[in-house]
């Protein structure tokens, strides 16, 4: 037999070992991996029921963005540069994973409010499964990219394999942000509205539609504080230009992502105890 439900007050009782709570939570997330699988499947099934295009809807968003920008920048302003459509597609896919991951984490966590008042499951599985479902979407997007690259006659070379560590960093980062924001949003619902504005501004402050060398040197140190200013060009390096990214910069972002994930998890486990009490 095992201890299923056990709770200890925060503060005094566990003050000596702050990691204990985190480890317990982590272990129970692992124990509920079956639930994660179900929730991911439910998230993916949701978009295909009663809809002709199913998962394609996720892709239509970045594809429309690509079409609009190709028309605007390439056709009207005639300043797109080589393979502008693929160039924008990479940025749009990476950003879509971030924005959808964070937003659906917040909405699905709120949507399970009823269940949170009824059963003692580790609540972190909610944002986790939302981010995993978005990652499956991203994988589909990468396949679409490969197809498009072949159509445009762009060589997808061996460097493309480095997309895997980049996706790993991206997932860790998005998961960390999602955990923190989803938890805060349960207590203050307008965080969700705020987040969608921040994401919209962030999109233009990231090199999704332009190359980073268009940013003036003087602003660059500040500009590079945005992890996506490193990640999006790195994705382009391996997907579009068949070359190694700047691994030292990518490594630093990877480290920052891990720190973000730990911090997000700490925030989540701290606030989680209030979820079932929100009425």
């Amino acid at each position: 037999m095992r201890v299923v439900a056990s709770g200890t007050a925060a503060g005094a009782a566990t003050s000596g070992r702050p990691w204990d709570g985190l480890l317990t939570e982590l272990r129970s997330v692992v124990r509920y991996r079956e639930l994660v699988r179900h929730l991911v499947r439910a998230a993916l099934a949701k978009e295909s029921t009663g809809r002709v295009f199913g998962a394609l809807w996720w892709l239509i968003d970045p594809l429309v963005l690509v079409a609009v920008y190709v028309f605007f920048v390439d056709v009207i302003l005639q300043s797109g540069g080589e393979d502008f459509a693929l160039f924008v597609l990479v940025g749009a896919l990476v950003w879509k994973h971030l924005s959808s991951g964070v937003i659906t984490s917040m909405t699905t966590t709120l949507a399970r409010e009823q269940a949170m008042r009824q059963v003692a499951f580790p609540r972190a599985v909610l944002p986790l499964s939302a981010v995993l479902a978005e990652t499956i979407h991203l994988a589909l997007g990468l396949l679409v990219y490969v197809a498009a690259a072949i159509v445009f006659g762009v060589v997808v070379g061996p460097a493309f394999l480095f997309v895997l560590p980049l996706v790993a960093i991206q997932v860790v980062l998005v998961l960390g942000l999602s955990l923190a924001l989803a938890a805060v949003n349960v207590l203050y619902r307008d965080v969700q509205n705020l987040t969608s504005y921040v994401l919209r501004v962030g999109f233009f402050l990231s090199p999704a539609l332009y190359a980073i060398d268009q940013i003036p040197e003087s602003v660059r140190p500040v500009y590079l504080l945005n992890p996506f200013a490193t990640l999006i060009p790195a994705f382009r390096d391996v997907m579009l230009y068949d070359r190694q990214p700047d691994w030292s910069a990518v490594g630093l972002v990877g480290l920052g992502s891990v720190v973000t994930l730990v911090a997000g998890f700490v925030v989540f486990t701290r606030l989680e105890r209030w979820f079932a009490k929100v009425s």
């Binding site: 299923v4 059963v119 499951f121 207590l187 009490k277």
Partner: protein, 260 residues
């Protein structure tokens, strides 16, 4: 019988509600309040459970009695691990089920069959276990013809039947019951109360919240009387029920003083 003698151990459990966190739900209001602290009306925190201590051994049936608002339901939620104590410790050994968690996590877009597995996963069961009891669940619910229909198309009664069928087939070791359950139509109600008694017999430990003092005294091995979030008395059913009845007939000045 289990390896552990203790099934539930509660030590000075306190559960706090912070009204600022749990009632105001926007940043604007939270910020506004911090900028104008005088606007705060009344205390923002209260302890739904203040100091509850008791222990249940394997084989115990604990009856929880007390007036409305004494914290009985909060106690069940804490035993189930849905709420975590903000003070003290609560440990529950074994698989917990509350028959109040009917249909937790049900997803209207998924079929009845998928929802059985989803609900099972929320309760922490592995697929193999659910597959094993799946036929029994479907049969008990009487929904054979509708099991592959999306839950959205179920009536409220059909949903409840499916939910109860799941909850009652996962055989909890620690069974938590809040009041008497009346679900479904006449025939289903008879079947479900019969099933509840079966579950009560199968469970190692039962915690039962009820206002039916005669029923509590008849079925329970120990009784816990909660008064305003505190243990007023715990022990021998007859003795505790008698104390509670005496209090209910004439709230003694001693207790009233302690309460205020």
């Amino acid at each position: 019988m289990s390896l552990y003698a203790d099934a539930i151990v509660a030590r000075s459990v306190g559960v706090e509600y912070d009204l600022r966190l749990t009632q105001r739900r926007t940043l604007r209001r939270a910020l506004g309040e911090n900028l104008h602290p005088r606007r705060q009306a009344g205390p923002s925190k209260f302890w739904a459970l203040e100091d509850v201590t008791f222990a249940a051994q394997q084989g115990d049936a604990i009856g929880v009695i007390g007036q409305n608002g004494a914290g009985k339901s909060t106690l069940l939620l804490t035993i189930a691990g849905i709420l975590k104590p903000d003070r003290g410790t609560m440990r529950t050994f074994g698989r917990v089920s509350t028959l109040l968690t009917l249909g937790a996590g049900f997803d209207p877009d998924m079929t009845g069959r998928e929802n059985v597995f989803l609900n099972g996963a929320f309760l922490g069961f592995h697929r193999a276990k659910i597959e094993e009891v799946f036929p029994a669940i479907v049969e008990f619910s009487g929904l054979q013809a509708f099991i592959d229909v999306p839950l959205r198309k179920y009536s409220a009664g059909m949903r409840t039947r499916l939910a109860f069928a799941i909850a009652s087939h996962v055989e909890p070791e620690v069974l938590l019951l809040d009041e008497v359950l009346g679900v479904g139509d006449e025939a289903f109600r008879a079947r479900s109360s019969e099933r509840i008694f079966e579950l009560m017999e199968a469970a190692n430990v039962i915690v039962l919240v009820s206002h039916d003092l005669a029923f509590v005294q008849r079925t329970c091995t120990k009784v816990l009387w909660l008064h305003e979030g505190r243990t007023a008395a715990f022990g021998e059913p007859a003795a505790v029920v008698a104390k509670y009845q005496a209090y209910a007939a004439d709230p003694s000045p001693v207790l009233r003083a302690a309460a205020s």
